[in-house]
Symmetry: D2
Subunit: 427 residues, 4 copies
């Protein structure tokens, strides 16, 4: 569900020099993400919902070429006219495009050519930023950076999905060891919040996607939120208690998925000699019992909560909590690529940067939300149907891309993202 909701709230655009730094850093991050991949790795599409790495690297570049360079850089010469058709994602106003489920057929251009395309566009953007462009151009470049960061995360989750299809279970990369060796996770504590009328949504400072605003008031009943994520150990208890076999725990659509697809454990899990293993970006690994459970669908998160006698939080309960309390969360560690076990600590732990947390909130427009005009703003709300909001960011989310108001969203059966849960209850 790669989708761009790319309308920045009005805010002072970053100054060109800073912006240039930001641009180069983001682009360099993408390049590094592509490094471990062969041409074949970067080409294959493992399911219609995923895209080839090559496509992510090209599409984000196409965005800068089409939205920024063509209309704004005099004398800019497009790298290859055919890329318009190949690498448009879903912009209806920008013409026909290659069908999404056929993205994996594009064996040519090769990955090297895509890197050449990137360099060509980078040169153009450098030139443009050096020319003191209009603030609206700077805003588009910043938007493009955030757009590219979204695709960086998708590139990782899509490669994980691809490698999981390979019986040899290759590793994408051996990440840094965890700074702290995990001990057994301590019991979750439930933190109380008073509720009442609170403000949520982006306030206009710094970048945000359009669906994060307008900032507005909501009324919350008193509630409690677990201070850490649900662990693999806890989820195994659910499995062993027959959680996947009891229809009373499941939403009707989720139970239908179980019957149709035989779900009996989180995505990527398999049993080897009585132990659970899972596919990771380091290849197949034993499940770390004290790490947060991940690769859950909404259905599984919701069923686990029901089994626990709790519920999922709403997105506003989550957002209010991080606004109210000191929270812990490492947002700058994108090389880690795996969720951290909870460390002993105060406040709310693991709020950012481990796994996306399913909320019970359907992805809906905020009051007075208005879709923007033109191609950039095309389809701001077009995905507001049949999806649930996730909050908090995952270990695959790029550094600097997460904030309290960020609304990720996926259909309730999506499992290939780093998605888990935190329990809540009424106070």
């Amino acid at each position: 569900m790669a989708r761009l909701s790319p309308q920045p709230q009005s805010h002072a655009a970053a100054s060109p020099s800073t912006l240039g730094d930001q641009y180069r850093r983001v682009r360099e991050d993408s390049r590094r993400l592509g490094e471990p991949l062969s041409d074949a790795d970067a080409t294959v599409q493992s399911m219609p919902d995923a895209s080839p790495a090559k496509w992510h690297l090209a599409h984000t570049t196409w965005f800068f070429e089409t939205m920024v360079l063509k209309p704004n850089l005099d004398g800019y010469k497009p790298f290859d006219e055919r890329f318009d058709y190949l690498f448009n994602s879903y912009y209806e106003t920008l013409g026909e495009r290659h069908p999404r489920p056929r993205r994996g057929m594009i064996t040519r251009p090769a990955l090297d050519t895509i890197f050449d395309f990137r360099a060509h566009v980078d040169e153009g953007i450098d030139k443009l930023l050096a020319s003191d462009p209009d603030p609206s151009v700077a805003e588009l470049v910043e938007l493009g950076c955030h757009h590219e960061q979204q695709h960086q995360e998708l590139l990782l989750t899509d490669i994980l999905h691809l490698f999981a299809q390979n019986p040899t279970k290759p590793a994408y990369r051996d990440p840094q060891p965890l700074a702290v060796e995990p001990g057994e996770a301590d019991d979750a504590r439930f933190v109380s919040f008073d509720g009442g009328i609170v403000e949520v949504g982006h306030d206009g400072e710094g970048f945000a996607f359009d669906c994060e605003g307008p900032r507005h008031r909501v009324l919350l009943e008193p509630y409690r939120l677990a201070d850490r994520l649900v662990t693999n150990r806890e989820f195994i208890a659910f499995i062993e208690d027959g959680g996947y076999c009891d229809p009373l725990l499941w939403l009707s659509a989720g139970w239908a998925d179980i019957l149709a697809n035989g779900w009996s454990k989180p995505f990527y899990w398999e049993e080897r000699d009585g132990e659970y293993w899972t596919m990771t970006l380091r290849g197949a690994q034993p499940v770390d019992l004290d790490a947060p459970v991940t690769h859950l669908s909404y259905f599984e998160a919701d069923a686990f909560a029901a089994w626990s006698g709790k519920r999922l939080p709403t997105e506003f309960e989550w957002e209010n909590a991080v606004q109210s309390l000191p929270v812990e969360g490492n947002l700058a560690d994108s090389g880690r690529l795996r969720p951290r076990p909870a460390q002993a600590g105060e406040g709310l732990r693991q709020m950012y940067g481990d796994v996306w947390e399913w909320t019970r909130s359907a992805f809906s427009p905020y009051p007075r939300f208005k879709p923007a005009e033109g191609a950039v703003g095309e389809y701001n709300g077009k995905f507001m149907c049949g999806q649930f909001v996730l909050r908090g960011g995952s270990c695959a989310t790029p550094a600097g891309h997460i904030r309290a108001t960020y609304r990720n969203f996926f259909p309730p059966d999506a499992r290939w993202q780093f998605s888990g849960l935190r329990l809540a209850e009424d106070a």
Copy 2:
């Protein structure tokens, strides 16, 4: 999507004699609905989402037999032990059941036998109510009556769907003529509401389904609501302006439906010699330009609102409106079977009993909503995923079955109900 959410809020149970009257009236209504049908009409299932009329008539009776008579009436002899398997809908705790998409295979028992089954159960209920049963039994009977009323509406919409498949377009029934001949609908007026903190949800007086409560506070921004429904004439303007051809007006999933299924007008519409006709319970009829448009999916309602520069209301905006103003709406006219054109009038018109109004609210649990225990309460919230709330009731909704807090819900692509829309906007 026939589904029962059958947990009455606590309230003084109706007294047995009144309850007996209610029971007999509801059961007689069902019988009359079945009268125009042949054995074959009542047996065929025209799509997986629809059920045969015979099944509706039997399943509602099975409910009384299984939930009320078997546990509470000494010496009750079930009509036919095999009906447990045949006519259970989805109660997992009540054992195996015949697969929903195969309901149309049950040519035997015949419709006459189903009527015998109904009489047998009616006799049992009479006996039970005469015996001064426990209030909890009375509550179950009342619940069964409301459950049966839900199926009365579905019986009608399912028969309409079946007859629409027949190239000869048979009429189910020639309803009463409309009391007033329609003139051209006057322009819609937008009525303003202040918003603020308001209470919504069922307050415990009289019967309600569990998902209508608990009553709770919500915060509304100021808004305006059209005083009448959108008409066929207005919807034709949308069609003729290319509404079905402009992806920018549509939710992504709705546009995919258009591409996959070739939608270009409301369900049941066809063109004959340049005029629009539609299938109705009176057979094929020319579209009445001043009547409310109906048989729309959520996608079509939402796209029309976008094209109009307006939006759909939330379910709470709708509910607050009927709590704030005198409303017009005839709830006791279940023989009409077609939506009424708007008549000149004050206040909010056509709020009840013409077409179900799509709201932009996903069907979600209210704060502190708790699923009930046991078979009756099984699955209270199991459909709270992927569906949108509709309000107001349609011309096929039985008399006495509609109220301000009633939440109907369907997936966004459902079109075979009497579903239309009313416009809203921010104030």
Copy 3:
């Protein structure tokens, strides 16, 4: 796969009086077949390959009205103009028609109306035959009779399929008891044939469908043919030996069906307390161990033959055998509706009227076969692709409809006909 290959070979047309008798007998047979059915039984379509009984009764009548009466009987008034659309099967030259998989949606006209339609057409045919019509008209009437006999068999197999979907397993009819109580079947004997150049195909005497000719020479190698059909007892030995679990016994496409559909025994079989039961026209019954196995796909027949170290015969080996030897087979017992156990006897037993015998011959045109001109001859060879020939006729085949040259054909995965096998081997 109801299909008509309706080109009679040139032959002296039956005289009108005899033909009138034939017509009345065939029509009366159909009427009697419809007698045990309710309106609902006769209306429902249980799968796309099957048709409703009502449709069979109406389509065969439509054939006489369209092909015979309209062009040949002055002043004939069609019963209902809409029936042209409803009851055409696949004649492209005769206009649009109702889509085959939607035949079960036609709840109206009711079964009674179809019987009225039949009477109306019968009257017209009576009148026409009394008027000394052209021989070509008589030929068409004879063709219509054979066409109707094909549909009589399909009506029975389609009703069996429908009733098998009903968990209550209703009986269509209690047939006559078997004349002789079955003992255990004796061992099959293999009868030798010399082969060489032999003639096969219809020789022009009496009625035949076009695909049965032209009569022509074929070259056969010496072969042996079992003198009786394979029994249920023998087939159970195959099951118990793991026949359904060994891919080496199966055609590739058959093995794919096993994997996709979980086939593990003949169609309609189920296990009850360690015993095999099967659905029959008398309702669910224990499998009769000495009766011929039936409701097999080509894949199952072929796998059984491979497991036996034998093979299926070709259609010409079968036809040469019945031309060479006295054969036993009761062709006039259409009320029996179940295959007979083999009786001790000489010659080839059970060649006619028990189960259709799968041959290894693909359904292909005979040398010099030419499709006929016009609507009657439309599509003579259009099914000559992907189907295998069956020979011999079943217990559901009408009396007088079977002959040595008759070629029935079905796709290799079809199982709802009365289809079994006889073993062959090279001599």
Copy 4:
């Protein structure tokens, strides 16, 4: 439909030295076919019926490793144990294997590694052949060579299919120019054959696949065969005469394909400014009007023949013709990669090496055909269901791989092979 029917008829095995030459030549041919491909080109699977080039290169090597080296070469060390699972095609007796439709997920091992695997196995085979192995081993090596040649052709047709999915329509290779510039094809002449009893099938001299034998007698009626293939110009006349719109010309299953898939011209054809273009191994090219039409399904070939008032030949008519007359056909020109226009000439032209010719013969076992024992002979006849025989070999068939008795076979809807037709008629 890559499938191996790998049972050599008994014949004197090639002597080791010659065999070594043959082996090296075939292996080198494969290597050269892989040369123009990138790692990504060689990895992607464009449809379930096609395999990645990498897979073809690895699977043919796996065959030698598994069937020849492991059981026969002392001390042979397998290249990578995991390849057994990855590169088995369908040998049930050789264990589990990677599912066919998922072959395109295997981005690793890379193409370079596959070439290393090939070199490793080549070394083993060299060593084995130098050791004067048992004749049965030599037979297996020869079989492996022919098996690899089959996959060489499939590699080309599968790459063509893959490149056709790419909107940029890349060229695989620029082949040699045609030796003779085409003029307009002359009219086809029909050559007469007497028929009678003739012998067909492989006689045991030289290599053949098992399904080509046993040689046996068949009886042919007199017939005539066109002396050249049907051209693109002739096929365009069929299109322009409404051939794709007239159901009377089509087999029932073919017409269903037209309705379902919108076929209106040969596979790979598209219209550009009123001219037909087609995808070729040289990229998109204008259709050469005088070249043989190719990329036809059986349905299209059969419909064209019906429209022409002719028919397709049987496989035995074809085989008898090449046994009876001098034929023209270049079998040693595998670099050409496109069918040749007919040159003026005597005898039967274009019989070999241009396009595979659909025959009306279903792929069936010859009399006394017996599947072989063991893994090599596994499944000899498992594809003898639902397929039609093609004769003659195409421009993608390797030099030396074609002979008069060769039976290729594909399902009637397959279009991605170089498949066309030659007309026949009764004499």
